[in-house]
Amino acid sequence: MSDIMSDVLGLVDIPLEEFGVLGKDEYVSEVVNRPSVGYWKDAWRRLRKNKLAMIGLCIIIIYTIMAIIGPWMTSFSYRTNYLMETNIRPNAQHWFGTDVLGRDLWARVWVGARISLFIGLVAALVQTFLGILIGGVAGYFGGNLDLVIMRIVDILSGIPFLIFVILIMMVIGSGLFPIIITFAITGWLGMARLVRGQVLQLKEQDFMTAAKAMGASSSRLILKHLIPNMSGVIIVTLTMRIPQAIFTEAFLSYIGLGVKPPMTSWGQLANAGGQVMQVHPYQLLIPAFFISTMMLALQLFGDGLRDALDPKLRK
């Protein structure tokens, strides 16, 4: 080969050690150009690639937006009874029809969405927050504190849910606020157990010791190492908690402890629809459709999020 040729090919100045087995490092070249990102950005990038999770996210966003603007899109109020127009099937005027008392179901579905989503979200967030805080403290600091906290958890989880509900309702009455309080008080127990277990397992690992040996403060250890490593489990549990709270609220409405009519929720709408299911099936099918698609969306999104938060699953 002439000098010019080798010059052109750039072969002249390549030292011997630059040569290697081809194909062995395909993996390297594949990821070389990935932009510089941190953990959360990388997780978001992975989440965006997950079609099912994105469909779930879209449904969640659409329902949330509709919960906000839906009731205003029709001129009918969710609480006005049009006694001449009861049980009308969906039509151009009443998009989802009307119920037994002649109230517009479109308005009621989206007002109900406000209540259901609000209860689901707030209950899940409060439970998660309390669970992480209390379970985290128990697991992280250990010792007698752990012992006391976990005994309290054991005792509380021995008390049936309904007793809590009835006690709280007796003290503060029924309605939205007492329901959320009830969920908050009863729901964190499982989360606290879960978080404590995770913390106990993680805190013995060498990467925690390494960070400690590096001078990391407790808050850094918890925020930068413990929580990201638990985030997958926590988020999946969180997304399960939202539908659970929506369902439980429906159950409470059924026994008369939920939000009071004319205020409504998805669970209550489904209940009311269930009573006239054989004559007017649309009154059950419409709220049932929204409840189930929302659950599905949360599930898909939660699964996607868990996978995105686990770098090991990166493609």
Binding site: D42, D206, T209, R220
Partner: protein, 320 residues
């Protein structure tokens, strides 16, 4: 000996763990040694004999039950939270298990930079350059900076762990069995890397291992540990040529030799019995139930570590 400067010195260190039902586990029982600046002290012993515990006491991750830790002439046996942060800049650690020692949720760059962030070293931009520099130093590429630990092999992960330890320019590193979990072919690469870094930066190591085969290459002196105590401590050549403690002799005879003739002529010294539990160790020499030469004296009284020839310390009644 006096022209060496001691960097780390521990005196009569004991570390006891309280177990259930009031029992006490003596993980480290009265250990003293020093490490000179720029030196590597090897620490060898079977798994469970207290090496990790001792390393962590030296590194101030564990607080000792009794005894004294001195670093650069300063007593750091007891320290405040603020002192501790200062100590962490001087002493670092490399771990045995390359799979659990790196946070799976952080990129290589974040892992290596963490120490700089904690100690607020360099500006944001310079940190990235420093990470590149460190990656290069331990034999990794710039491109590795955004990858997550699981994308690497065991040896590469150990390199990341080394880079992390070096990032804040410590003077002293406890290497806790850094090669035990690696393939044999990779072990020598990591040992060579550690030795090169030591020369380059004047580092001081406490190098922990569970067998004697690799320790010789990297250590200036070697301490042999048995059930929480040091039984022999001497220069590494001396230890290999002239092991005095029966336990050291048995460890040495377990090293495979590449030369078939030497290997065939060698006397293997297989130990009988089990290591006693570190809970409720019987009085006398801890090694007596496995020692081929044990006599009446050995059950009476625990032998203390004494200097039998200059720089050669042994804890055995049978050595004169």
């Amino acid at each position: 000996m006096n022209n060496f400067e001691k960097l780390v010195e521990i005196n009569n260190i004991k570390k006891y763990f309280s177990m259930s039902r009031g029992r006490i586990l003596k993980a480290v029982d009265d250990v003293s040694f020093y490490i000179n600046k720029g030196e590597t002290l090897g620490l060898v012993g079977e798994s469970g004999c207290g090496k990790t515990t001792l390393g962590r006491v030296v590194n101030r991750i564990y607080q000792q039950t009794e005894g004294q830790v001195i670093f650069e002439g300063k007593d750091i046996s007891h320290y405040s939270k603020k002192d501790y942060k200062g100590i962490t800049r001087e002493m670092q650690m490399i771990f045995q298990d390359p799979y659990t020692s790196l946070d799976a949720r952080m990129t290589t760059g974040e892992i290596i930079a963490e120490g700089m962030v904690i100690h607020n070293l360099y500006k944001q931009k310079d940190r990235t350059n420093r990470v590149f520099e460190l990656l290069n130093l331990v034999g990794l590429n710039k491109e590795h900076i955004n990858r997550f630990p699981h994308e690497f092999s065991g040896g590469q992960r150990q390199r990341i762990g080394i880079a992390r330890a070096l990032a804040i320019e410590p003077k002293f590193i406890v290497c806790d069995e850094p090669i035990s979990a690696l393939d044999v072919s990779v072990q020598s690469q990591i040992v060579n890397l550690l030795m090169r870094l030591q020369r380059e930066f004047g580092l001081t190591y406490l190098f922990i291992a569970h067998d004697l085969s690799m320790v010789k290459h990297i250590s200036d002196r070697v301490a042999v540990m048995y059930l929480g105590s040091v039984v022999e401590l001497t220069e590494s050549n001396d230890l290999y040529k002239n092991p005095l403690h029966p336990y050291t002799q048995s460890l040495l005879s377990a090293i495979p030799i590449a030369d078939p003739i030497l290997s065939a002529n060698r006397q293997r010294m297989l130990l009988q019995g089990e290591v006693p539990s570190p809970i409720n160790t019987p009085p006398g020499c801890k090694f007596k139930n496995r020692c081929p030469h044990a006599s009446g004296d050995c059950s009476e009284e625990a032998p203390i570590l004494r200097e039998v020839s200059p720089g050669h310390f042994v804890a055995c009644h049978l050595v004169n």
